[in-house]
Amino acid sequence: MDTVLGISFDGGVIVAADQTNARSILIYQHHLDKVAPLTSHSVLGCSGPNADFVNFSEYVAKNMALYEVTNDMKLSTNAQANFCRGTLAQALRKGPYQVNVLLGGWDETTGGTLYFMDYLAAMQKVNFGAQGYASNFCLSIFDKEWKANMTEEEALLVIDHCISELQERFLISQPNFMVKVVNKQGVRVVKQGADPVENS
């Protein structure tokens, strides 16, 4: 049911996800942030049961932090992605993480890169991607509209186009979306349907 979208542009990537937290016929929340921050310059858009999403994303994020404090250096996006994939692979035949993710990050040498990973620990570097039913609606839009060396604004328009299409044609109502940009300056929320911060 979750939607996760990702697209790379010249100088960064955008990762977006819907904000609905639901199980079966019940919606728990409308403001869940499914695009988890990993490091200062990378995020993990996750779909799947809440428990697995939180467990997996926190495990990876904390290991990235441990690496940075131990070794006084950051891991490249590619290294982070391989670490994620390795974690999924090892857990697969023990107690799998039922998450499908899009990992997007920026580093100095390679610019913005996007990695598609599914719960079976398959991984592929992609220019754009979608997890969940959203792929049925959005991949054709990405195919038509993605170009090499797009600007951030152009990429955001494509994401908007995808979200509009989903809201028009996808049976499950997803009124709120969280859209984050990762570039040289770091991670930035560009748009959110609802503020994830609890305001109880």
Partner: protein, 262 residues
């Protein structure tokens, strides 16, 4: 006085010393000399090959220099059997890192791993320390060429040029005067200059005998930018002999120059 406190690695002496660790360091001072020199375009590792008998079969691989991964190599001073265990550990760690991250391990992280392993034998288990010092030479994208020295205590430090093994003090004092780099107002040597300097140092440490291609092994670590990989090259006998001869010629020229004064 040390006798009461020196038989256990896990006991401090009243002066606050760990005698077993110090004795292990002593053991290495009897081993074949190893020299490491950072050059502007690579690293030179030079080792004294000590052959205990002419009946020994010619080794197919070096018994002083070992590759640890595609981008890191080391030379050994000390107990060979101890060194083999540590080299296995280092290679395993380098491989594990690559398996996990699909990237080469940063050089200092591998050095630290080897040292932590060595250190654990000085603190628990009732086992003796490893009687090995390493010179590790490697390249990574962040800090480029690096040279590290490790000792049985588990300490390590980074060097521009250093010597371990027999007569290392004499070697180090020669390096101090002859190794030039920016901080002293000189320039970093090229690989060829570093090779010649290494032979000069070996001439000094090898106790009267002169370095020759049978007694000496020269390794150069450089980087092939096109293929994006490191090159570990052990010089052939012919190439080593050429360096030895160059050093001899320069020494002779210097000697001649100093005589002509009157």
């Amino acid at each position: 006085m040390a006798r009461r406190y020196d038989s256990s690695t896990t006991t401090f002496s009243p002066e606050g010393r760990l005698h077993q660790v110090e004795y292990a360091i002593e053991a290495i001072n009897n081993a074949g000399t190893c020299i490491g020199i950072l050059a502007s375009d690579g690293i030179v590792l030079a080792t004294e090959k000590r052959s205990t008998s002419s009946l020994l079969a010619v080794p197919k691989t070096s018994d002083k220099t070992y590759p640890l991964s595609s981008h890191i190599t080391c030379c050994v001073a000390g107990l060979t059997a101890d060194a083999n265990m540590l080299i296995d550990q280092a290679r395993l760690r380098a491989g594990q890192y690559e398996y996990q991250y699909q990237h080469s391990i940063p050089v200092e992280q591998l050095v630290e791993h080897v040292c932590n392993y060595k250190h654990s034998y000085t603190q628990y288990g009732g086992l003796r320390p490893f009687g090995v010092s390493f010179l590790l030479a490697g390249w990574d994208p962040i800090h480029k060429y690096q040279l590290y020295q490790t000792d049985p205590s588990g300490n390590y430090s980074g060097w521009k040029a250093t010597v371990i093994g027999s007569n290392n003090q004499a070697g180090k004092s020669l390096l101090k005067t002859e190794y030039g780099d920016e901080s002293e107002g000189g320039t970093m040597p090229t690989i060829n200059e570093a090779l010649k300097l290494a032979i000069k140092v070996l001439n000094k440490t090898m106790d009267g005998t002169l370095a020759s291609s049978e007694k000496v092994e020269l390794l150069v670590l450089t980087r092939d930018e096109e293929l994006d990989e490191c090159v570990h090259k052990i010089l052939s006998e012919v190439e080593s002999q050429a360096i030895v001869q160059e050093v001899e010629k320069e020494a002779a020229a210097e000697a001649a120059a100093t005589v002509v004064v009157s």
